[in-house]
Symmetry: C2
Subunit: 305 residues, 2 copies
Amino acid sequence: MKRIAVVGAGTIGLSWATLFATKGFRVFIYDPRNDLKEVFEEYVQSIKPTLELLELPTEEWVQHITLSTSLEEAVKDAQIIQENGPENLAWKQQLYAEMEQFVAPDTLFLSSSSTLGASDIAEKMQMPGRMLIGHPFNPPLVMPLVEVVPGKSTSQDSVESAMTFYASLGKKPRLIQKEVFGFVANRLQFAMLQEAMHLVDSGVVSMNDLDEIVKDSIGLRWAVTGPMLGMHLGGGQSGMEAFLRHLGTTMERTWREQGDVVLDDETIKRLAEKSLGAYGHRTIAEHGRARDELQIEFLTKRREK
Amino acid sequence: MKRIAVVGAGTIGLSWATLFATKGFRVFIYDPRNDLKEVFEEYVQSIKPTLELLELPTEEWVQHITLSTSLEEAVKDAQIIQENGPENLAWKQQLYAEMEQFVAPDTLFLSSSSTLGASDIAEKMQMPGRMLIGHPFNPPLVMPLVEVVPGKSTSQDSVESAMTFYASLGKKPRLIQKEVFGFVANRLQFAMLQEAMHLVDSGVVSMNDLDEIVKDSIGLRWAVTGPMLGMHLGGGQSGMEAFLRHLGTTMERTWREQGDVVLDDETIKRLAEKSLGAYGHRTIAEHGRARDELQIEFLTKRREK
């Protein structure tokens, strides 16, 4: 049985651990927090409905998990490490240098980092060739995407191992070819979120209506085609070229007129208050279950094609 | 039987006409093009598979359509006019002033305009209170969204009539509260497309991979929750406030580092060439059918919730 260490047991780490364990890996979780056992037990209960939706075993996987009491114990016999610590460069550099002392030379180091790159994180490693980013879209148990981002020292072998590993879990790893800040999914997401927050905050549209607008147009479209094929089909028989020639000046004008959002305390409070008005009638857990249920159904439909 | 005039029979106009006719309206289409009859007959054949997917009658609706030989004939007895002409302000102002001479005082004037606003379009009308924007997301036969955007003179009655009318067709009309250029869906869409084109054009990610990344992350997410509820659930128990506090500086940095795209001839050609490499293995019609099929299945799933 292959062994995986999950270092850092926040939301992302626990979701990864569940995925690994349900796919037959032996999983060692390490997190310095004192209440790891309680947090894990609570999580095991809360994740059951999602596992049912995914048609995965809801109980047996827990037997594949060990809560390690030290970093060394968690990583020492692992073939793969998936790290999910805070986005703190000095801390991560230290952590990787430390983990490296305990493991075999062919251990693969994967970081869930969403902003720090492998070139920086691996800087203090003896063998940086075996370290790279495997950034999931939360929660990794449900969402297919993993952004695989090598650093300047990452070996081709490690890239291939990471791609194969994530694919073997049923995920959809995608290779990012340059180490840009925020990688791809978040850069795209944040570009749209800025304009979304601007339009709501300036009274153009209500928060609820903005969500419904996206669900009934670009959300639906991009879940099916993605944005580039979406443009290609928007141009009729002449495809993307016609789309860009027809809409180019309109697009450029909207870019010039996009709102700037500054996420200061007041703006955050204003938007947070609107979000409670729009969504506060249900708990986060209720919304989350409805979200995961429909996402899983859409994924099943898409796989059938 | 209620009468609707569809003025302008391009892609959008024909799709509206089909929707109106299948929902039991008597539809009069006017377009000055000489080959309207041929274009319409070809369209009737091509739209059959989509009508089947929508479980709408595939033949009978054609009997509810009249191809009018003059603007006057098309609009004179219509209760509602849906106009789909080119985005040319002087032309539209002239058209609306002309149509107004032929119709009853309670006729509702709706424009599919994606950029020009009702305040400008209605400027030369005698009764501008009855004119507003009803901007669909293409194709209106399939996509639920209609952005309803009143101008400065639009009456409250007209807004309500438009909202009721589109809802009666099974569409999801949303009221836009300020006349911003590009309205909401396209402003949001274009904000993300700029960064998407930048990332592909600068070699960060392949065009195909970018589409897959979006389909497997934010596309899927936004089809289910929209972006604002998506943020709210991304913040854990403390909702949007926690999300924005946790990711605010990261978001702001990606905004600063977003790429500027200039849609000049060379850029358009470069992207168009990549799109043929990525998607040229299937025809536009084949891609379009697959897109509509899965979109319709997702919509059906979503309605069941």
